[in-house]
Symmetry: none
Subunit: 440 residues, 2 copies
């Protein structure tokens, strides 16, 4: 019997708005999803504010919150997850930034954004430009600099040294026509001097990339072809590498993850999940959906908790392709057969999104996401279909991301009543591996 | 296109209980409100705990919370808003109190409340009595005293000087037959000595008003006519003038307000709203409702956010006149035509109350208030009528006041995902005016 096991499925950017061309339905409501509807009917549904009402989650903070970590006090910022996701070994105290290659033009002594993604420069050219930065900028003001290009216009920057802080603002204004910004300490930075030192290094780094890239032969070639140059690197999303409490210690569940996207693998690794490798998963619409869910169902005997991440729902949202999204949701639903079997065998199944990405916006929004939890100990409600408007009337009502793990412990009979054990609130479960026998 | 604009309508004391004489409906449910129902049907509805469940908001803390300020840490107390609302220029550090003229009788060495509002003394007589206090009590123990009469039995008291604190208790027991209370420092006052000094000044002020007023010719005349004398002034609701972060800095929205009541104008001014002056608005049932909503619709091009306050719903609640309230709600609904047009043009419309004031109680209560938000990016739910019991089934479920501003930013596409920008949590929106361009 599997009455303690959990399969936790996150369909990235699942939530959406309703569209006229779908008869005023959302992509999820419009899609034909008999398996999701079956689970919705059997279990409890609701709406989930993954962080808090109105606040659009980033994918990293969203997953931390879904796994029961506090996005305010435990989220280390975007930068570290970018680096970790690409396999970079961050040291505690390292400051990491997400970066973009961008195209800028000079106006007086300011630099104006022409394109935040450098005309979506090819990965090959960006790699070569990136290597020149990696090799030539290795230290500023005694701080060690490690720039790494990842894919397309993207990369990350790691600063290491003493007296640094992640409490600095971004250089990327997030819009064209705006100036490249000066990084400054947060007004409420805990250590102003460390933040000032860090911001100064960041600003010098940005200027140095502009000087090097502006005269780089690749950019001269691009400009001569009438294309946009990748003539600056803009760091943003500063974060500090910290040590997060392992998921298994916090919740007493042995966890595994099935995910292709670097960010999701990075979050899972940081929390001590094992990665289950599935062939041909890509984080794209062509991913091996059948494989993901088959491997989850097949491996649930070996773990207590398997997280399955599907990325491409969000891919369609960012492309503003609601029909593609609905059609992909139907493909997911078809692939869920092994999960239905697991449910029938007593596994508790959770399906939700990490955030809403309305195809109308093409960006994450703060609308809540639909959620279903179906298992042997969930309450059945009146919801019979899985969709935003249906889940509104479900038994879960409107929850926050960090409520899910305690609920799942309750649904799997794994948690004792509050006060019965002497433990701080967050540690409602004390794993046996932390038991210390009394010795005579 | 207006798809980023917000009209934020607060109907004071809107929430209520159901009454037999309304066929078990509340005044809002009983009233015929086609325009409000239209918006409810188009948008998302819910119930709002403006502060927290069960805590009756004051009008000032309620509005702060609705505008996204923390009522626990950012609310400076009632006194300052009373003073500011009447145009008094408070200095930072000033301690302000709301005051009442009251009628007391002596009993031994105590003063017993006969009527907390001095028999609702006429404004003219109160003004003359007030001027005698203003002129004769100007300093106590080296602390500068400024008493100001406002309307009817109401006024405010401002203390200025060094070493003062707002952490002192009230002198008004809030019930007849009880003694006038001695102001004392809060048990947990941060600066006990400052609170003790302030309380001592307050107690001396109260005694001095009794001595002066008891022998005042106006009171002798009132007593000779068999009427209650206004023979004491009771300070309560101590607060300290602080600097609140401007609304436009916090939320990135250029705000304006349409309100007649001094308290609401005071809150708006403190947060940096511009006031839109509408002819013949009064804060009373005879106010120019058409003008309020017409001016809001007409001016939305110039602002991002227009707050419209309608006071008289609460007026009827305090009078325990449910039929008057229902009838006034119908008048409001008729005046909403320009708001419906704004909605059709893409403006996001929010309608709620600042608190429930059951006509049965005649006072604010902690029941949640109904809310609707309708705009191009709100989700439609199953609610088809605007009313307490209908909104219970809405997509917003049960929210808190401080959730509204982030939600409105999401609905108007104005907020980036968490973590994408490096900023402290509270500053999810960084207005451009705070940008510092990088200089070469």
């Amino acid at each position: 019997m599997n009455e303690g096991k959990i399969i936790f499925i996150v369909l990235d950017g699942l939530g959406d708005l309703a569209y006229d061309f779908f008869d005023n339905k959302t992509p999820l409501e419009y899609a034909n999803t008999p398996n999701l509807d079956y689970l919705a009917k059997k279990g409890s549904c609701g709406m989930l504010d993954v962080l808090r009402p109105g606040l659009p989650p980033g994918s990293d903070s969203a997953h931390l919150s879904l796994f029961g970590y506090d996005y305010l006090t435990e989220y280390p910022g975007r930068g570290p997850f970018e680096a970790i996701g690409y396999g970079y070994k961050l040291q505690e105290g390292n400051i990491a930034f997400r970066t973009n290659f961008a195209s800028v033009r000079r106006s007086g002594n300011q630099l104006i954004i022409v394109d935040r993604r450098a005309g979506r420069i090819s990965g090959e050219l960006a790699k070569e430009l990136g290597e020149s930065i990696t090799n030539e900028i290795t230290e500023i003001d005694g701080v060690s600099i490690q720039y790494t290009h990842t894919i397309e216009h993207r990369g990350f920057l790691v600063l290491s040294g003493d007296g640094l802080s992640h409490e600095v603002t971004d250089t990327d204004p997030h819009e064209s026509g705006a100036p490249v910004l000066k990084s400054v300490p947060w007004a409420n930075a805990k250590n102003h001097n460390a933040a000032l030192k860090t911001a100064t290094v960041v600003n010098k780094f940005v200027k140095a990339t502009y000087e090097l890239l502006e005269k780089h032969p690749i950019n001269k070639q691009l400009v001569s072809e009438g294309k946009l140059p990748a003539n600056i690197i803009l760091p943003r999303g500063a974060g500090i590498k910290t040590k997060l409490e392992p998921f298994e210690i916090r919740w007493g569940l042995k966890p595994a993850a099935i995910a292709a996207g670097p960010l999701y693998r990075g979050v899972a690794l940081e929390l001590g999940f094992e990665l289950i490798e599935v062939p041909n998963i890509t984080g794209l619409p062509n991913t091996n959906l059948d494989g993901k869910f088959e491997y989850a169902a097949r491996n649930i005997d070996k773990y207590d908790f398997i997280f399955v991440h599907v990325k491409a729902t969000d891919y369609y949202s960012h492309k503003k392709d609601a029909k593609g999204k609905a059609s992909f949701i139907e493909k997911i639903d078809k692939a869920l057969e092994p999960i239905i079997e697991s449910y029938e065998q007593g596994v508790t199944i959770l399906v939700t999104g990490d955030h809403t990405t309305p195809c109308k916006y093409g960006n994450h929004s703060g609308h809540p996401v639909p959620i279903l939890i179906a298992g042997p100990n969930t309450r059945q409600d009146s919801v019979e279909l899985f969709g935003e408007r249906y889940c509104t009337n479900g038994a879960l009502h409107r929850l926050r991301g960090h409520h899910l793990m305690p609920l799942l412990l309750t649904y799997t009979g794994r948690v004792l009543e509050y006060g019965l054990r002497s433990s701080p609130y967050e540690r409602i479960f004390i794993p046996k591996k932390e038991w210390t026998p009394l010795e005579l």
